[in-house]
Each structure stands twice: as C-alpha cells, then as structure tokens.
Symmetry: C2
Subunit: 399 residues, 2 copies
C-alpha cells in the first residue's frame, strides 16, 4: 500500500512524497511511485497521535470498568479520535482495583498483540496515575485511595504485570515520604515518572531531581501553583528545561489558552506532550462528580444519567458511540483547538503528539515518527486540522 | 574629556573605542584618539543606569521626607550606587502629602537644572505610585491612602506640578472604578502608566488594554498572582508582549531568582526594566514595618532604631552614608546579583537598565544610550560587574 501527500510530516521536515507500507510497517518514503496509491493531496500526514494519559474514551473506560473488554473498546474507537496508540491510565483506586486494571491491560494486550493486528489503536502499556499522590491535590481522584509512596506496594503492583514492559509510566507526588524509593525502583525498571497531584515545593523537587523524574502530569492542574517566592510544582515545570510538561485537553476548560501559551513560550514544542486525560465519563460504574463542568454522571441501570448542578437531568445510552463521543473533547479536536490559540506549526504538533510521547515512554524504536521501519501509524488531517483518516499499523480507520 | 575602553556598550554592539565628552554631552565615539584620555582598559562602559522606581536611597528619602533637600541628597549619593538619573517615587500618602512630594520634586529640579550641573544623578521627574491603588494588594503602602481613581484628584495632582514634564509615570490599579478616565488623562498628557498594587483579573486588563497601559510595576509583587484559569496581573504581564515588566531589586528576597528567570525567558531583555524600589529606610519619619525582612524601622529622636522581630534592637545614625548604604541593595549590586542567576549579556543589561527605561518614560532623546548628542551619563563596571566609576552629564563620581 502506498500513500501520497504534499505534506508528510517527517522528524525534521515537511515534504512531498509517497509512503510505502508493508506488513503494518513503513517500508520507505519515496520521491516517486509508478503503481496505484491513495492520494491525500495537500492533506497533512502526521505520525499517529500517542495519548499517554487516557483513562477511557466514549464507550470504554479502563478506569471505570477495569476490564479487558473496556480496553478493547478503547482500541476499537480511538482511531476515530485520531489516536493510534495509548497508555491505559488508572487512577487512585484501592490496590485490588488497580490490580484489576493491570490484569485488564495484560489481557487486552495479549488479545491484540501480533503482526497485522486489526484491533485498532495499540495499547502500549499502563500509566499508573497514583495511588501515590497527595490527597491535598486529589482533583477528581478518590481521597481515601491517595496513599503514601511505598516500595512494597510498588513491587506488588509491578509484580502483578504479566508483561513487565506494560508498566510504562507512573504519576507520583514526589514530596511524600517514601517517594525516593519508589522513584529509584521506577528508574531501575525503566518506568517513566512524572510529578502530579502534588503539593511539592520547588525546593523539594530540586532535591529529588537526581532521582530521575521525567516530567509533570497535566501541568498546572492538581499541583501546588506558582508564586514568585515559592515556585511550587508549576514553577519547577516551567523552570527546569529537562522536565517534560504534559498538558491535558487544551479546551480552555481546565487550562486557559493563555496559560498554555505562556508554558509553550518557555518549554517549546520539544518539551510538551499533549494528552486528553479523557475518562470515558459515560462508563461510570457509580457516580462521578465533575466540579469543573458542574455536572454529575450517574450510572442509572443500563443508562447514564447526567445531573446538572442547575437541576436539569439527561439520560444517555452509554454504549451508543455517536451519543457519547462528544461528552469529552477528542485528541484530534484538542489539537485543532490548541492550534487555534497558540502559534504552532505542523512540526510542533508532530513533536507534542507523537515524537515526544514516544521517546518519553520509550517506544521510539517503533513509534513517534514517519520513517522506514516504524509502525505504519498515521493520523491524517486536512490543512485546517480536521481529522480525515487514521492508519493503525497499516490498517485504515475512517468514518 | 575622552574615555577609552575595549568594551563600550552601544545600542546594538559592544565595541572598542574612545568616547569624547564635551559640555556634559557625548560628542563622538571614535576609533582612535591622539590626545590624553582616561583608560578604562577592558572595563565595561554602560549608558548610565536609570532608576524609574526609587523612593529614597541611603541618606535621603523622597517618600519619607518629602523635601527638596531629600531629593538633592539622593542626587548626590545615587551615582555611588551606579545610578545617573531617576524618577523620585511617591507612595500612597494623603493628597496633601503627595502634593508636598510634588513641590519637593519641582524645587529640586529647579535647583539642579541647567548645563553642566554638578548635583550628581539627575531627577527626571516623579513616579506616582498611587494613590489610585488597591488596598487588597497594598504591600507596604498605607491602606487608608489607597483611594479609587478619580479624574479630579488626578487633575489636582497634575495641576500641582510647576514643571508638567516632571509628571512622568503613574502606577495604578486598573480594575478600580474611575481607572479609565485617569488612564485617558495620563495618555493625553504623556504620562506613562503601569498596573501595580492591583487585584485586576486577566479579563479586566484585556478590556483596559486600549487605554494605553505601558507596563507592570514590580512584577509579581503586589498583584493578583498567576493561576491557570485566572491569569491575574502576573499572567497578563507575561502574556502580553507589549507590556513592559518592571522588576525591583533582584535579590532573591522579594522575587526568587527562578521566578525572575522564567519571566526573563518570556519577556526577554527588550521588555524588562530593572529598578530598585529602594525606600531610604533609614529616613523613616515615624515607623516602617518591613514584614518580608521581619524588622521594623523606627525614628528614635535623631537616630534610627531597628526592631528585629526576634527582639534584637540596633541604633544607627541615619545621616551616615557608610552606615546606612548597605541597608538596601543598590542598583549596581542588583544588576550584579541578577546577572549571577540569569544568563544575560552586556547588551541585555544595557537594555534593562538604561535603553528601556529611557524610552518608557520618554527621555530617550537624551538618555538611554551611548551615542553622539546624548547626555554623558555613563556607568562603568569591571567585567565581574563591580561598580568602578560613574559619570553624570560628564562629571565623574568615584569613591
């Protein structure tokens, strides 16, 4: 299979050419091609978007459902959101619940692993967001499950993985007792770490820098804010060049466009990773209070009830993709929205959506750029950044 | 008179050469010179530092004493701090007290105006820091004197100036009722305006941008802080490229070095003005509580008493320059201190200390750069940024 475009976003340039795909991988980038090809004209071919912080999407939620089926449902639908691979992200739940998540990820991975898999977006592993976070900055996590970092607990969680390479990323409050031991463990086992849901002071982060912290989770949100004498987590994220800043959904909802723009001017596209932090809200198994949106999502038999703070109620079928896909901003929409408010070029978008996350979670041997030998993961948008088509390991997903 | 250096900091380059001075002005920058000259070797000749936010210095305080003699004392001693011209800065006092300040500035200006004046540093005018500021962010200003912006009061203050060109700068809380009328008046009368001691939201500042606000006073301090959904004054200062950020004393005391560095990375040396915001603490006429330093300065007969919060007491002669000059960090020391923590070159320092403030308060027809026709105001430092010598309108001040 061969794809043509005037605008193929490579690692260091945007060029015209043909992408030859074979066996789910990119075989070559060619100047000319004599055979048949799919003509994308001036549409922009990005390496596939990688979402390293996603709990759930539309009809499936790893976080809420904790089943392999939920993960497979995410794999199936995420290409329609522009995403070709992802880290299934857990939350601060009880240890048995997190272990259930790990089992679900292992099982889903087993079912979808192999050449020419047609399951859709690829699960690259798990992002453990907690349980070692600070209840002071719990955000929408469960306070009673925010526990102090513990090496035995970390070992237990890691031990639960049947496929160790799926344990890829952990968000942790580095100021809490025991954090250093957990950070050391993560570094030794190739698990990326990020500061998040954290009350750490600038000095506490500075003292812990040598433990190999890689970044900051949903920068600005769920952390000690910036003050000019106590820079907090936000100040450290901006100040330290080597910390990668993850941003979730640039909707202007959780982080204002201007606040993102300020961070962008300091960090640049080399040090920012875009994620969605989507939950798959419709899949809540109990009830979920979204204080920013001012609505509560409640499981009501086999339907989802939305209780608005102003008293209105709605019912939705949680298994109807069309009905629920607009409940959260998709990855592709987030990219478009971000680009509408901050001056970014296609190369910048490529870095923040694919190259940076691939390197960050150490899958850059096969993901993160359009180059020979890489997985044929492609996200194709028009020049206005509307999603056109997605290829996951060579198979096209288009609605 | 001719000065030689390997390192003369011009507007766009650092060059070797000779500065020819005549009649208090720079006559020429020369490649070679046959006559006698003062040899500064590799010492760095900057255009004279301009402090647009200084209430008092060591043995004289415009703010506390409100006399022409206090201003003349500042003129006499400021060259030893590296400063060649300044705006005498008032505070939030009662209207009669501010009028006394204006009279003092007028009188001092009359006594020192004219060719070849040898009074030392030049008073360029007055910076009215208040009274139109917000008591919520009063800092060390008097709460009862923080009043709502009022056009009649502004007209009364402006009317008090015998020399209208001395009314050069006003710090104002732009969110307060009546601010637009005062801002309009200032723009019409060539008075620069800056947001300070302000609780303004980002939206309030955005709505007021068309009124011609020029900058932000002591950025970070005395203002609504940064939050990622409500950017406040700090966020507006960082976000809007056309707002000039004034920073007071980069000691790491009021603003941490890292917080300054973050602002520097966004604003750059083209959009920052360094000031001291020194008070002349020894000249307090009553008592002055410095909550950041944790000490209280008290007038005790003809001596100054310092009551430390920990119970210790000291007495100092407020008229002994050597005894009091270290009570606050000087302009020259602030520059050295700032450069020790942020990567700035000599051209950057020149902009933040001289070119930017000269343009900001509209004295760039004669101040702010080393060029033919400009006043011969020069601040000379060694390559470690230790102060060596200062020239004010051609006259050397060296201790």
């Amino acid at each position: 299979m061969v794809l043509y475009s005037k605008n193929i976003v490579l690692e260091n340039e945007v060029r015209e050419g043909f992408i030859e795909i074979e066996g789910g991988r990119i075989r070559a980038i060619l100047d000319s091609w004599d055979g048949p090809f799919a003509d994308y004209g001036d549409q922009v071919i990005f390496p596939g978007f990688i979402d390293i912080h996603i709990h759930g999407w539309a009809t499936g939620s790893f976080w809420f459902e904790k089943t392999a089926e939920a993960v497979l449902e995410m794999c199936r639908t995420l290409p329609y959101a522009g995403v070709t691979s992802f880290l299934a992200t857990s939350g601060a739940d009880s240890i048995p619940e997190i272990k259930a998540c790990i089992h679900a990820a292992d099982t889903a991975w087993e079912k979808t692993h192999g050449e020419m898999n047609e399951a859709g977006a690829e699960i690259l592993g798990v992002h453990l967001e907690g349980p070692f976070i600070n209840p002071k900055y719990k955000g929408m996590q469960r306070e009673e499950c925010c526990i102090e970092p513990s090496l035995p607990v970390m070992e237990e969680l890691y031990g639960t993985f049947r496929h160790k390479e799926l344990c890829r990323h952990m968000t942790i409050a580095v100021e809490r007792q025991g954090a250093r031991e957990v950070l050391d463990f993560c570094r030794e086992h190739g698990i990326q770490t990020a500061i998040g849901h954290s009350a750490a002071t600038f000095a506490e982060i500075t003292a812990m820098k040598d433990a190999g912290i890689g970044g900051v989770t949903h920068t600005y949100s769920g952390m000690r804010g910036f003050h000019h004498r106590e820079l907090g987590v936000v100040g450290a994220a901006l100040y330290y060049d080597d910390l990668m800043c993850e941003f979730a959904k640039q909707t202007g909802l959780t982080v204002s466009h201007e606040a993102f723009d300020i961070a962008y001017r300091i960090k640049g596209s080399d040090r920012i990773i875009l994620t969605t932090d989507c939950s798959g809200l419709a899949q809540t198994q109990t009830e979920f209070d979204h204080y920013i949106r001012q609505m509560k999502f409640v499981k009501d038999g086999d339907r989802l009830r939305i209780d608005h703070y102003d008293g209105r109620q709605e019912w939705i079928d949680p298994h109807d993709y069309e009905a629920v896909r607009h409940m959260e901003m998709s990855y592709a929409e987030s990219v478009q929205n971000m680009a509408a408010h901050t001056k970014v070029g296609w190369l910048d978008i490529m870095k923040m959506t694919s190259l940076n996350p691939a390197r960050y979670i150490h899958v850059d041997d096969r993901k993160g750029k359009i180059a020979p030998g890489m997985d044929a993961d492609l996200t194709i948008m028009d020049t206005e950044l509307n999603l056109v088509s997605v290829y996951c390991r060579g198979k096209e997903y288009r609605r």
